[in-house]
């Protein structure tokens, strides 16, 4: 029987979590430093009760809970309702910690996981290089072992959080004579040392959320390698599987759509709301079909995950669907804002909801088709992994 409710057991659990938050969380706790004592305390108490860091063993600072997709979702919802602080996110939690849990040494886990969970270490991803793009096998940034240290030279780019990251996990060519993938290792690097230069990358929107990072004789201990030498490619493909499925995060599209409807309601044309224009209505209606298909597919994926089943074809499509629907929304938004597209939006965070603020959204959808693999890569994955079509000739054994 299809049922979108989480069930009685889950609702009881929701009461428990909400009760905890009502007691423990002061809603003004976020003011000031995001890592204030109070936030720290609440996170720590929540972890003790098994609400946060559920997939991480207790000995590294996690709560080591059995996989429970529904509970995880209830926790997210309860924390969101209370506007309480969830886990510290970022690349560290999403990518490094799972990798260490699966492939790291005991010493590495002890050294890095707890500091990542409590926000002491902030990780940048060091995969892309200028000219490497989706083709990570072409990494050129090199590391040479000099007694007990790797000496790293080269450049990484598109490092998110690059400005504030304390550390980087990176793909580095350590075996210059091995072909392609086989020459790459997965190294951890302290970014706060001489020889590291950070240069923010200004995006087309004017913001700079990524950086280029240059290494000149930068050093990292010999045992800060995850996996064996030359295994970096395989190590980098470890991903977080624990309770990854969620409903809320998938509905970013729904949130933007609601704002788009709002824009259409509040934009006047010849003195009438633009939403009364049949062309606008038809376009909104078309887009809503895609938005709902995306949302309902996230229910489906959540349900599959909760039942321990594989996500299948639709799981490969969510990102592309998001990109393409975002693109359609951007085009309508551009139509709606009209002349406001002639003026720059005020910087983020400033007051005022000028419709020109949609420019960032409109330009941002350009970025979506790039982030996390271009749409061409996504289509290739759907065709090959989803539909079982043969690999492109040109891609060889990449």
């Amino acid at each position: 029987m299809f049922d979108l409710r989480y069930g009685a057991e889950a609702e009881l659990f929701r009461q428990e979590v909400s009760g905890f938050l009502a007691d423990a969380w002061r809603p003004d706790g976020r003011r000031g430093d995001a890592l204030s004592e109070h936030v720290r305390d609440v996170r720590s108490a929540a972890t003790e009760r098994g609400y946060l860091y559920r997939g991480i063993p207790k000995r590294y600072g996690g709560s080591e809970q059995p996989l429970d997709i529904v509970r995880a979702q209830v926790i997210r919802e309860a924390f969101a309702a209370a506007r309480a602080p969830m886990e510290i996110g970022g690349n560290g939690m999403a990518m490094l910690v799972p990798t260490l849990l699966e492939r790291g040494t005991e010493a590495q886990r002890e050294r890095f996981i707890r500091s990542t969970l409590d926000g002491t270490y902030i990780w940048g991803q060091g995969y892309s290089e200028p000219g490497s793009g989706s083709d990570l096998a072409s990494v050129r940034c090199r590391g040479e072992l000099d007694r007990d240290e790797w000496v790293i030279n080269g450049q990484k780019t598109w490092t998110s959080d690059g400005a504030r990251a304390t550390h980087m996990f990176a793909l580095i060519r350590t075996e210059p004579h091995a072909p392609n993938h086989a020459g790459i290792s997965y190294l951890l690097i302290d970014l706060n040392q001489p020889g590291v230069t950070r240069r923010p990358i200004r995006q087309i929107t004017g913001e700079a959320t990524f950086s280029e990072i240059f290494f000149e004789d930068v050093r990292t201990p010999a045992d800060w390698i995850v996996g064996a030498r030359g295994e970096g490619w395989a190590v980098s493909r470890t991903t977080l599987k624990h309770e990854r499925a969620s409903i809320g995060s998938a509905d970013a599209l729904g949130g933007t759509f609601a704002k788009l409807v709002d824009l259409a309601r509040t934009t006047l044309r010849d003195g009438r709301p633009a939403i009364e224009d049949p062309v606008v209505r038809e376009t909104l209606g078309r887009i809503e079909g895609w938005v709902l298909a995306h949302r309902c597919s996230s229910y489906r994926l959540f349900s599959l995950a909760a039942a321990g089943e594989e996500p299948g074809l639709v799981g490969l499509m969510m990102k592309l669907l998001l990109t393409e629907t975002g693109h359609d929304m951007a085009l309508l938004a551009q139509e709606l804002i009209g002349d406001a597209a002639l003026i720059e939006p005020a910087p983020p965070g400033t007051r005022g909801r000028g419709s020109e603020k949609w420019l960032d959204q409109i330009l941002g959808t350009l970025g979506n088709s790039i982030a996390g693999g271009t749409t061409n890569i996504q289509r290739g994955i759907i065709a090959e992994r989803g539909l079982g079509l043969p690999r492109d000739l040109a891609m060889g054994s990449a």
């Binding site: 029987m1 299809f2 049922d3 979108l4 409710r5 989480y6 069930g7 889950a10 529904v70 409807v261 259409a264 309601r265 939403i275 049949p278 209505r281 038809e282 909104l284 209606g285 078309r286 809503e288 079909g289 895609w290 709902l292 298909a293 995306h294 309902c296 597919s297 229910y299 489906r300 959540f302 349900s303 599959l304 909760a306 039942a307 089943e309 074809l313 639709v314 499509m317 969510m318 592309l320 669907l321 393409e324 061409n376 996504q378 289509r379 290739g380 759907i382 065709a383 090959e384 989803g386 539909l387 079982g388 079509l389 043969p390 690999r391 492109d392 000739l393 040109a394």
Partner: protein
């Protein structure tokens, strides 16, 4: 929380898929398409024997008392198999009778509808939507012409939409004239039906609910059809060679196939949701039904076109199976109202 089919639901789908493939294989389908029959009797009876007619009808009447979600799972598979015969209208008529509080009426019709012995269809005039129904009813008799009625010649019961948005039951015979049309979709034949003072039994039910269920069911048929067109194209791309390679190895075609799949696969959960919202009578049930109908009609149209293009010449021939689904896409798009109509309804229902 559950939002994907159970093993039991998948087994029912398998059974339906197998039965339809056995009783209506491509050869039989082409005979049907090139012939004049109102429907393919063998496959219809086989599906009815599996209980399709009574899927949502009460157990007391021999039905399975299942939900609209179960029905869309079934109809998707039947649409993929190019089912002949008025499955969706029949299910709608069953829902209408089952919604009636009149025990005599229920007893008179439900067992036959459940078993499939009684074939029912719908006759909605005007522009499909209840507000536009225009068959006049007075003194228990209906008068008016309905343009597009599926399998009218085989039906023992018509669910007629009457002016004002009500529904009535009419039997063939006195005051009912059937004029067969040359149907574009030759797997589902249509007739014009003229009611000229035919005796009718009005139903005191919520006709909107029946109509919405129909929208979701047609969306499910379109989903199945779009899936079939995609599957055929993927299979063809793996099989067919050009320049010494399977054409499915050419990146441009691969991406076109990925785009087809992107149209179909995420839409599946949308159809499920529309059915689920109807089953629970959620506040967005009516809107979701309209959105599902509009979205799936567009997806089927688009995927059918892409399938022909990806096949090249053979996809453009009458004899290749794909032509059957291309024409089914025309049917699913127009039947019960086109995408723009339902999108406009959905937007209006949202209060935008």
């Amino acid at each position: 929380m559950r939002f994907h089919p159970t093993d039991e639901q998948l087994q029912i789908q398998d059974a339906l898929r197998g039965t339809l493939a056995d009783t209506l294989p491509p050869a039989a389908l082409h005979r049907l398409v090139d012939g004049d029959a109102e429907l393919d009797v063998e496959s219809w009876q086989a599906l009815m024997a599996l209980g399709v007619g009574g899927l949502m009808l009460p157990e007391a009447a021999g039905g399975a008392a299942l939900s609209l979600v179960d029905a869309v799972l079934a109809v998707e598979v039947l649409g993929a198999g190019a089912v002949s015969g008025p499955v969706v209208p029949h299910l709608m008529a069953g829902l209408a009778v089952a919604a009636s509080a009149d025990p005599a009426l229920r007893e008179r019709w439900l067992p036959g509808l459940a078993s499939g012995e009684t074939i029912a269809t719908i006759a909605f005039g005007g522009a499909w939507v209840p507000e536009s129904w225009d068959v006049a009813i007075a003194d228990g008799r209906v008068t008016g012409a309905v343009q597009f009625v599926q399998a009218a010649g085989a039906a023992a019961l018509f669910l007629v939409g009457v002016a004002g948005g009500g529904l009535a039951l009419v039997e063939p015979g006195e005051g009912v004239r059937i004029e067969p049309l040359a149907s574009e979709d030759r797997s589902r034949r249509l007739s014009r039906v003229v009611f000229d003072g035919a005796p009718a039994t009005p139903l005191a039910i919520d006709s909107g609910r029946v109509f919405d269920a129909g929208l979701v069911l047609i969306a499910a048929d379109a989903l199945g059809g779009a899936q079939r067109a995609t599957d055929m194209t993927v299979a063809y791309a793996k099989d067919r060679e050009q320049f010494g390679q399977p054409i499915g190895r050419f990146q441009a075609l691969k991406h076109q196939l990925a785009t087809m799949a992107l149209e179909v696969e995420p839409a599946r959960a949308l159809v499920w949701y529309a059915a689920y919202a109807w089953d629970r009578a959620l506040p967005d049930a009516q809107r979701s039904a309209a959105i599902a109908k509009a979205h799936l009609a567009d997806r089927f149209t688009s995927v059918a076109r892409a399938a022909v293009a990806a096949h090249g010449g053979i996809g453009y021939t009458w004899e290749y199976d794909l032509s059957i689904w291309v024409r089914r896409a025309f049917f699913d798009r127009a039947f019960l109202g086109g995408p723009s109509v339902h999108r406009a309804r959905a937007v209006a229902l949202a209060g935008w």
